[in-house]
């Protein structure tokens, strides 16, 4: 009996990455723009989606990720948005969505005439950034109340996103936040990141967000 080492040298998440690549290809073929929204809890993702659905002419569909409850899905359904809820709570309470979850959800979803498919990822700036869900565009939402330093504390989410939406800008008059410092910190992590300041409440910046979506080609 002797000691033996077997070399493997594989990406640990290679199965997830393969499913994600397949999903991206599939959505491209269907002409659907697929967007993954990531943020901390309470940054305003659901409100933004309500606002987006009300302002956009094209049909959208949302896959809603939460550990518990269907509250966000109910809000979106009330706004007339097609929505599918994934709760990870009964399955170990994962704090992020993986490509396999999305693939399973899509088997039950009718995407006819849908132009934009959104994943509202589970509220958490750490874990969702690690798992490619196959989206064309990763968007990180950071509200102005969260602090300038958050991009430095959660670099992967900002490095792996093409767009950052700085949300709740209607609150700026009441805060001491240094918005330029927040943006500079984002660019330290990801010099190419596009940044849009918006408020789903006041409507500021919403048109820039819609223009960004409209300009994207799959």
């Amino acid at each position: 009996m002797s000691q033996k080492e077997i070399k493997i040298m594989q990406k640990i998440l290679n199965v997830n990455d393969r499913i994600a690549d397949d999903l991206r290809t599939e959505m491209s073929k269907k002409g659907i723009v697929y967007i993954n929204l990531m943020s901390s809890p309470g940054s305003g993702k659901t409100k933004l989606l309500e606002k987006t659905a009300g302002a956009i002419r094209d049909k959208i569909f949302v896959i809603e990720g939460d550990i518990q409850t269907t509250l966000d899905a109910e809000r979106l359904a009330a706004a007339g948005v097609g929505v599918y809820q994934i709760n990870t709570g009964p399955f170990g309470g994962d704090c992020h969505l993986e490509a396999g979850w999305i693939r399973s959800a899509l088997e039950e979803i009718e995407l006819e005439n849908v132009k934009y498919l959104f994943v509202e990822n589970i509220g958490n700036l750490v874990c969702p950034a690690e798992f490619d869900v196959g989206a064309h565009i990763n968007v990180v939402v950071l509200s102005v109340t969260e602090g300038e330093e958050k991009p430095l504390k959660y670099p992967l989410a900002f490095r792996n996103s093409q767009l950052c939406l700085i949300s709740k800008t209607d609150l700026l008059p009441y805060l001491d936040i240094d918005l330029e410092m927040m943006k500079a910190n984002m660019r330290k992590i990801n010099p190419q990141i596009r940044i849009i300041e918006l408020s789903a409440k006041s409507g500021q910046g919403i048109q820039d967000w819609l223009d960004f979506l409209a300009e994207y080609k799959t």
Binding site: Q3, L13, G92
Partner: protein, 118 residues
């Protein structure tokens, strides 16, 4: 919090290699993890120690984590910079057109164990 899902994936790969091998049992699983991933080694080990008990041949295995520091390479002057604070700018020419060449690793490197055949 995502360490559990990562450990599950790495054990799936390790177990596949183990079952295709002539090893009698696995006593070490080596992984390479870049510091960009916000992974807490102790949490990885905790999940590993829980999950290994469910996999025949892995009950005695230990997880060995090799960490990789963050290193960027400038696309303009090609100099490399080791990052202490996360700022993706070249320390030599200041360009932000850089590539992360180390620190983003998330690999299973190998499994090690006793070979039954000799």
């Amino acid at each position: 919090m995502h360490e559990g899902a990562i450990v599950k994936s790495l054990l799936d790969i390790a177990n596949k290699s183990f079952t295709e091998s002539e090893l009698k049992e696995v006593n070490r699983v080596k992984v390479i993890i870049g510091k960009f991933h916000n992974i807490v080694n102790e949490v990885m080990e905790m999940h590993f120690d829980l999950m290994k008990k469910e996999i025949a041949g892995f009950e005695q295995a230990i997880l060995e984590i090799e960490e990789r520091d963050l290193i960027i390479q400038c696309r303009k002057c090609h100099k490399t910079t080791s990052l202490n604070d996360i700022n993706f700018a070249c320390s030599d020419c200041g360009s932000t057109d850089t590539e992360l060449i180390h620190g983003n690793e998330l690999y299973i490197a190998s499994i090690e164990g006793t070979d039954n055949t000799k």
